[in-house]
Amino acid sequence: MKSCLRAAKGGLSWVRPVSMTAAMTTILHVEDDPNDTLLFEHACRKAGVVFDLRAVSDGDQAIAYLRGANDFSDRMKHPLPNLILLDLKMPRVSGFDVLAWLRSDKSLCQVPVVVLTSSNHDADVKRAYDLGAKSYLVKPVGFEALVELVKTLPDLLAQA
């Protein structure tokens, strides 16, 4: 945690300012429900924001992607994300595990994580923030609401 904070002070050399080239913004979407993945893509289109969306279906894959392990070793094909959209409730390795792993990794702990989950449980919210989540968003039921949510993401990136 401390190392991570020092790194933040030292500069955000690897973070590209997304506001300048929104099209280049890479988002790693960690989501086990393919419907949600699809809906998010659709909402992005509907909202008129363009992201380089990379979707993985569970925590294992997310960690593998971030480490550049296995299939994800080619950074040209699988660039490091500017933002991680993280579901919490996933089989095997949960979102919390991913958050905890991220915090322990000096090179990656600066990547902002936005939790996007169906849980609005207070305990989940608190735990996610404690593990370094940048923001905590609850999946809306209505598609329109999802579109509205997607529209707020560029602002979140700008704050980061």
Binding site: D36, L39, H121, D122, A123, V141
Partner: protein
């Protein structure tokens, strides 16, 4: 004496029994033997006392007996000394007279006063020695003196005759003896010859007196004293035989003699006098009438046999006696009294023992029942405690079950939402992007799918909210009710505007102790309902007011059901609290449903007319209860509803 000792001892022992028994830890068995011990001791002491008394009496009787015997012997001896003197006197008189005449002798004897001074004496007489040649002279002389019928008898030729010539007092009995030659009879002869040869008085053996003419004969005897011619007894036997002039003699009827001798004395003894040195019945001279009746089992005969020399003849006296009846009676009454007292003591101690044992048993029973009572109480207390524990345990289990159930419910609801989202969203996308390819009906159906999904999500969300309320902590703090109301109303601004509703808030609203999120949820649901349950075409009118108070609201519906509501039982409102209410001009609620509407999934209207999940008011109640408050409704159908909430004052 014996009785007293016995009685006092018995009493002491009885009194001392219980402390003694208590000190020595004696059981009931020892105490049961105690009366018997008293009885045995009492009878033992009685026997001892009786033995000593009997022995004492015996010794005393023996002493008295010996005294009596001594006195009797002395009396006899003294009396015979008197007769001895009498005979010597008579002998002297005859010696002086030479030839004594009947008249002279009579006057001599008359002066003696025989009957008064010599009791028991049958007679005193004189028998001269008459050689055979002088026999006829004597008879003649006697006839001359007036004895016409005088004769010497028994007949027979003898060298010397000794006929009785004088015998006084002269009476019928003695008259028979006149002329009787006593030497002719062996027993008398022996005494007479002994007297002649010794010059002393000599008593004869027992004889039947010639005077015994009546039917009641009794033994008799005689005492002879020789009279010599010189007046003085010669030195030798031969001289004495030559000088013998005759005999003076006294005659006794033994019975009369000894009766007179012992007539004054209560001897306490039986006296028998035998002639000779043996107690031969045939030789018995005298037997005293029984001095003492033989009586009682303790008679013991004392006996003293003594030889007595009476005028040269040996007599044998036998004294015999038994304890006097009175003394025997003392022993008997001592025995009887002692035994009686022992029995009384036995009975008393036994009765006392029984009473004591009965009391002890009663005390024991009482103690046992007290113990049993205490045990029962203890058991009851244990049961009560156990029951409390069990109730607490069950309650805890139940609470845990409810909590885990709510947890499950929460997770289930949570997972239900994901597919719902997809359904709602894809339907929406379908409508948005492909709506123009549907006809009117197609679009309607698609819209219905979307609506149903949305409604189901609402349901799930409400369930989640309810579940969260049930199983998460609800910390409370001081909040401005007004701020919260304003915040929540802000969320409804669009709807208020759309429904052309008016909302009045009685500012300022007081502060309350509550959880902000929960309070917002409660307010949100109540306001939502107030806006919702209004007839179509009627602009809703909502009024939110509050007051600080100490008197609590009644919940009529609960009373109507006869069952106290959970609110009434569980609410922890004490002292000051805040009551606020949300009033509407809506359709109102039948009092029958005032309690039911707060339950989960209770709906009074179809989804078509007033959409809702049926969970909203359950959430309200749960939320209010978690914050330590109560909620209720006052309403009549058609004239609006007034939901009230009581919360602790800040």
């Amino acid at each position: 004496m014996g009785e007293e000792t016995q009685a006092s001892r018995g009493t002491d022992t009885a009194d001392a029994a219980s402390p003694w028994a208590a000190r020595h830890g004696l059981g009931a068995t020892s105490r049961r033997w105690f009366p018997l011990a008293v009885l045995v001791t009492g009878i033992g002491l009685t026997l001892l006392a009786a033995y000593y008394a009997s022995r004492t009496i015996q010794l005393r009787t023996r002493a008295q007996f010996e005294t009596a015997a001594l006195r009797a012997r002395t009396s006899i001896r003294t009396r015979f000394e008197v007769y001895d003197a009498l005979l010597h006197g008579a002998a002297g008189f005859i010696a002086v007279e030479g030839n004594v005449t009947r008249d002279r002798f009579k006057s001599y004897v008359a002066r003696l006063g025989i009957e008064n001074n010599y009791p028991g004496l049958q007679g005193i007489g004189f028998a001269p020695r008459v050689p055979a040649p002088e026999k006829d002279n004597l008879i003649a002389a006697m006839k001359q003196q007036g004895a016409e019928n005088f004769r010497v008898w028994p007949e027979g030729e003898r060298a010397d005759y000794y006929p009785i010539t004088c015998l006084e007092p002269l009476n019928g009995r003695n008259e028979v003896a006149y002329g009787y030659d006593m030497l002719s009879e062996p027993v008398r002869r022996e005494a007479m010859q002994r007297a002649r040869d010794t010059g002393e008085t000599a008593a004869s053996g027992a004889v039947t007196l010639v005077q015994e003419i009546a039917s009641s004969q009794q033994p008799g005897f005689l005492i002879y004293l020789p009279v010599y011619r010189s007046g003085v007894a010669p030195a030798t036997v031969t001289e004495k035989r030559v000088a013998l002039q005759g005999f003076v003699f006294v005659v006794f009827r033994a019975g009369e003699l000894f009766a007179s001798l012992f007539e004054d004395e209560g001897m306490g003894a039986e006296l028998e006098i035998f002639d000779g040195s043996t107690t031969n019945f045939a030789n018995r001279l005298f037997r005293s009438p029984k001095a003492v009746e033989r009586a009682g089992p303790f008679h013991h005969t004392f006996e003293e046999i003594t030889a007595l020399d009476v005028c040269g003849r040996t007599w044998t006296t036998r004294f015999s006696a038994q304890p006097e009846f009175e003394r025997t009676w003392i022993v008997l009454s001592l025995l009887g009294g002692g035994v009686f007292l022992s029995l009384v003591m036995f009975y008393l101690t036994r009765a006392e023992g029984r009473t004591r044992r009965a009391a002890e048993r009663a005390a024991e029973r009482l103690k046992i029942s007290e113990l049993a009572l205490r045990e029962s109480e203890e058991r009851l207390r244990r049961y009560a405690t156990e029951l409390e524990h069990r109730v607490a345990e069950r309650t805890a289990n139940l609470a845990q079950s409810i909590q885990s159930l709510e947890g499950v419910l929460y997770h289930v609801a949570h997972d239900l939402r994901a597919p719902l989202r997809s359904m709602a969203s894809f339907t929406q996308i379908l409508l948005d992007e492909y709506g123009d390819r549907f006809d009117e009906r197609g679009r309607d159906y698609t819209q219905r799918i979307s609506n149903a999904a949305q409604r189901m999500d609402g349901l799930v969300q409400d369930l989640l909210a309810y579940g969260r309320l049930a199983h998460t902590a609800v910390p409370v703090s001081s909040l401005s009710l007004e701020t919260e109301v304003t915040t929540v109303l802000g969320l409804f601004s669009e709807e208020i505007e759309a429904r052309r509703a008016t909302v009045d808030v009685c500012s300022p609203l007081p502060a309350v102790k509550a959880n902000a999120a929960v309070l917002d949820q409660v307010l949100s649901n109540l306001i939502s309902n107030a806006l919702k349950f209004v007839p179509p075409e009627t602009p809703p009118h909502v009024r939110i007011c509050a007051e600080e108070t100490t008197s609590r609201m009644e919940i009529p519906a609960a009373k109507a059901n006869g069952v106290p509501s959970l609110d009434n039982r569980l609410s922890a409102l004490d002292g000051k609290f805040v009551r606020f209410w949300v009033e509407d001009n809506g359709i109102g609620i039948d009092p029958e449903y005032h309690e039911r509407i707060f339950r989960m999934f209770e709906r009074l209207h179809g989804v078509g007319s007033y959409p809702g999940t049926g969970i909203g008011l359950a959430i309200v109640r749960k939320g209010v209860e978690r914050m330590g408050g109560r909620v209720g409704v006052e309403s009549t159908p058609g004239s609006g509803s007034r939901f009230w909430v009581e919360l602790p004052a800040a």
